[in-house]
Subunit: 159 residues, 2 copies
């Protein structure tokens, strides 16, 4: 992968960001996913138009690429996104396992434009119960038992 | 919200986790979302059955609740999940903005059952280029320009 190709695909991601805003889909974010020199997935932010807070450009592109590839893994794929992925999208990328991620704007530039990315990165390291949205731990035997059954299950599909 | 109600809804989340595994939908995770004493969204892991790495119980439940409520915000909602949300789901919850989150198993128990949650929590704090999946920053004027246009846009819908 050359720097020139990186630039070409980043520009495609940025074009999707612009187009999405123009069409009123959502925020100014776009993403393309590439494997073997082919674009296999595209996404742009659709949070407000689809009433889906998870419809960030990267999540939309991951879902599109996985649908196109018929797989829940993005092995050997490169992800190009107009902005540094937020923690949700970073997590989604780790679960999809592409080869690498290239981004243009940073979380600080996103914050400057009015988005919570940098704030959520800070909240992650706060003890769960002290977060702005509090996360409470209530241990239950039944929940642990579900994990025990999973570990013992023979025919499971791992991800 | 009483502790008794918390337990009731956590048990519903755990029942969804069990049912999902039984039906071969995916991993052992379930989630319910409640507002004003009504369940407004349900989810269970569907990663492997739907070829969607983002189809974790919480993401599926958030999307279900938002669809049912016709809103991209989960204002005044409580989220019950059979396991501590992974970074993707934590991020999704922050974007959806419920009132609070209650979880049964921890990220360490998830790791013990074979899931990457704890690993991803560690990777988040590693400098982007040094992560196991490397994230490269390639600044581009065109990308910054999209954010500038967004800031100046008058009729935008915030989220």
């Amino acid at each position: 992968m050359t720097a020139q190709n990186d630039r070409k695909y980043l520009e495609q991601a940025i074009a999707l960001a612009k187009q999405g805003v123009k069409e009123g889909a959502g925020g100014p974010f776009g993403c393309v996913i590439v494997r073997d020199g082919q674009v296999v997935g595209r996404g742009w932010n659709q949070v407000t138009s689809s009433n889906d807070p998870t419809a960030h450009a990267e999540v939309v592109a991951i879902r599109d690429a996985c649908r196109n590839l018929g797989n829940y893994q993005l092995t050997d794929c490169d992800v190009y996104t107009s902005c540094e992925p937020c923690p949700m999208c970073l997590g989604a990328l780790y679960w999809a396992r592409p080869r690498r991620v290239v981004y243009a704007c940073t979380r600080e530039e996103a914050a400057e434009a009015g988005f919570d990315d940098a704030f959520i990165y800070l909240e992650i390291n706060i003890p769960p119960g002290d977060r702005k949205i509090p996360f409470y731990h209530a241990a239950l035997d039944e929940a642990a038992a579900v994990f025990r059954s999973w570990k013992e299950k023979g025919d499971k599909k791992l991800y």
